[in-house]
Symmetry: C2
Subunit: 499 residues, 2 copies
């Protein structure tokens, strides 16, 4: 039985752990600011110093996090509340994983990935998979080694997937992905056969300043809090930050304003999650977003369920008129904003429907590569077969086929699925929110407070207190499935394409 | 005698030290990026997280730098070249100093300074020194304690001065400051008696965008490399960065474009130093700027010796015309850019001449406070007496007297002198450069390459290889004195004010 003295000593250990973790989380947050700067503000000459600054932060953070002292504190801490138990669960899981992998292997993989990325660029340029193949083989091998260090007895792909989704069982994820695939393939077939093909209702060229003023007004409309954020441009839009300062970036397409509006709304969704995290828990896992799929669910909820709806587009229309001098009919906007292009072969250009077939294809290939069920040399052929099977098109060459994405060249296996899991989760969460009176309808019409509050209460505000399945169940009342999403896309595209 | 094995072991120790130091320097550089962001980009809401991120970087850097392992590596390293000896000298000095001071005292001082700064703001608002006095007493005491930890047997002010000027003997600094004071006081008297009083030749109000375009053109004129830098606005202009990425900030006065041009040229001078550091030594003391006085010598050289000269103003004139639609005669510009205001009581608004009397006054007071020769309660009276003695004016109240600067409230004693030392060094360096054929004349007329190269070769490129006195002697051929500066200001103001 613990005496008073023991209790103090325990409390002290827990507090020391929190203090240690908080310091390291703040180092990580500093690294994020440096990355933001690199992508938005840094002059090109700054790259060599920035790489070393980021490497220093990451090395120091790694050394201190995996120091045995962290493990000792975790082992000695005796949590007394649910919050303390949740924090300890999260830190403990991260420690066990990171501590299991030798630093030398991490460094070797980073160095190897850096060469592989160079090779990938060259291979894509030349559309020659052979140039990339030996690098991909090495990375697959290194990641298998990595997985074996974490747990030699489990499926290595499952282990890698947990790098991005530490508490969503792969089995659940796979069930969702398979249901998504099986629901979408027939819809794409029907869209391809449909006579309807929405056209670009803009037809002009719009300068960047006018488009920036437009998206700033869109963010105003969404009640983005400018005192806790900012908007900049970046080649690849992203968002980053903390509950105190969650920033958005976007880019502009001179021919198509929709291509800056929706990425902006998407990044707003990420920022909205970050801004809804519990402020008092800043610097600990309890103040952090649950993992990638949940983050992506928030961006896609705002982008697709709110942003691409007719009522929201009706609110966008006067802004288009004001800033760009063009005001397409709402139906024309809706068609264009939701147009499906079954002939597109490039994931990053894909629409809301076909996108997920690109993801499932990558998931199936990377899973089999890591499990050793597929040889690297077979990737181009399998890629093209699956493209034909799922989307009914075949890439002209490897550059627009299996060489199009950077992820594998940087050693990321297990990342791709999180995109589609996010969409599925977005639909399930949005459906649950819509059961509250007027919450989602009012959001589409421009009154966002109730939806934001609902999301904060049911998703954002938990931080990492709940594991993914529990978070979805608490927020929606049922376990995580693809049902809401497949219903949503089936109905949406049935109606739009009259199929 | 060292065997081959011993030599390898030694080399290894030196390399391990460099690698450790480099990692920590990169952490420091990351902190600088965060500070830059805070002052230029960060939304106001971000402050709480930013403070914690900066504190984490600084705590981790401090812990790792003062770790006994650093001391062991320093003790075991056997440098073999001049460069290695210089690096070891710099790291060793820093280690001895930082290791000598208990972390608890550093933290206590930081916390106390934070309260003192609040109190100082209130006291300045109320123009009531009494409100600030107890805080100042505590800080003086804490800094005396600090000095005693570093070296209980030496003058505590000398020890504090070395925080900013680790290798410029205070005796030399004091000789320079005294000579500056004694030369300037009579010149100010004569200026006061002169009938000449240059007036503002602008007379309009100029918007920020036009002024920004102007200073960007000024930076183009100076050949500021935009691929390694950027210009932004900040409430208090500063520069920061690395040899790869040295950024400038400025601010704008609607009534007086000169007030943005010269601060910009000043910050350009700092950036020019940073950009001239040896790239290969990035991350070690050999790739770092020598201390504050040398840095300030570079900013003031460009601002005052180049920027405020007639030939440079003749090049500025068409830019003023282009961007602001106003083109004062060169003589009118010269008079206004160099105007002396002996009635001004505020350091940050002071001209090139009277500025140094503000500095000497502060130096004498802070030196006596730290030495225990002056009581905090005497500060306002001594301040006012010295103002009268040096400048012939008396502040109306403490707000525009001894409460005007933030430095003491943040615990900085020994910092003020570096401003005037920088001006004196600027003049000496500029004079030496002018002995090369056409170097300085060509710079004033807009051909900056030769001056920049001369500075890189004689000042910037050394990094911290030379100690301050040696750097000045190598660059100028003589020891550091006030002579060049006193000659320069005496002649300049004699001619301008016909005295």
């Amino acid at each position: 039985m613990a005496t008073t003295d023991d209790v103090d000593a325990e409390a002290d250990t827990y507090d020391r752990l929190v203090s240690r973790v908080t310091r390291l989380r703040n180092l990580g947050a500093a690294g994020e600011v440096l990355s933001w700067d690199q992508q938005t503000m840094m002059p090109p000459g700054g790259a060599p110093a920035r790489a070393r600054q980021l490497a220093a932060i990451s090395a120091v953070e790694h050394d201190l996090f995996t120091d045995p002292e962290t493990g000792n504190l975790i082992a000695a801490a005796e949590p007394e509340t649910d919050d303390e138990r949740a924090l300890l669960r999260e830190v403990g899981r991260e420690y066990d994983r990171r501590e299991a992998v030798p630093t030398a292997l991490v460094e070797q993989t980073t160095a190897r990935a850096s060469e592989a990325m160079e090779a990938w660029r060259g291979a894509r340029e030349a559309s020659d998979f052979e140039q990339f193949a030996p690098h991909l083989e090495d990375l697959v091998e290194l990641k298998r080694e990595y997985a074996a260090h974490v747990d030699p007895d489990r499926d290595p792909y499952e282990v890698l997937f947990e790098e991005f989704e530490p508490c969503l069982p792969l089995e659940r994820a796979e069930a969702v992905l398979t249901d998504v695939r099986d629901a979408i393939v027939p819809v794409v077939d029907k869209v391809r056969a449909s006579d309807i093909d929405p056209s670009n209702p803009f037809g002009g060229s719009y300068d960047e300043d006018a488009q920036e003023a437009l998206v700033r007004d869109v963010l105003d409309l969404l009640e983005y809090p400018w005192d806790r954020g900012r908007l900049d441009t970046a080649p690849h839009p992203f968002s980053m930050g903390t509950v105190f300062d969650a920033r958005i970036t976007t880019r502009f397409d001179p021919e198509d304003p929709v291509k800056s509006v929706f990425p902006t709304v998407h990044e707003f969704g990420h920022a909205c999650y970050t801004l809804g995290l519990p402020e008092d828990d800043y610097g600990t896992p309890l103040g952090e977003a649950r993992d990638l799929s949940v983050h992506e669910s928030q961006s896609r909820l705002w982008e697709n369920h709110v942003g691409r709806s007719r009522p929201f587009l009706a609110r966008l229309r006067p802004l288009l008129e004001e800033h760009l001098g063009v005001a397409p009919a709402v139906d024309a906007l809706y068609g264009w904003a939701n147009r499906v292009d079954p002939d597109n072969r490039i994931r990053v250009k894909a629409d809301e429907l076909t996108y997920h077939l690109h993801i499932v294809l990558r998931y199936e290939i990377e899973r089999d590569l890591i499990r050793g069920d597929l040889d690297v040399s077979e990737v181009p052929a399998v890629w093209n077969e699956k493209m034909d099977e799922y989307l009914g098109v075949t890439p002209e060459n490897d550059a627009e086929g299996c060489l199009q994405d950077i992820h594998w060249s940087s050693g990321n296996f297990g990342y791709f699925p999180t995109y589609s899991l996010g969409s599925a989760m977005a639909a399930q969460v949005y459906e649950a929110a819509s059961e509250g009176v007027g919450i989602t309808d009012r959001a589409r019409e421009g009154e966002f407070g109730p939806l934001r509050e609902w999301l904060r209460e049911n998703v954002h505000g938990h931080g990492k207190r709940l594991e993914t399945n529990d978070l979805v169940r608490e927020a929606t009342g049922s376990r995580f499935t693809a049902d809401a999403f497949t219903d949503y896309v089936t109905e949406k595209y049935r109606s739009l394409y009259q199929i």
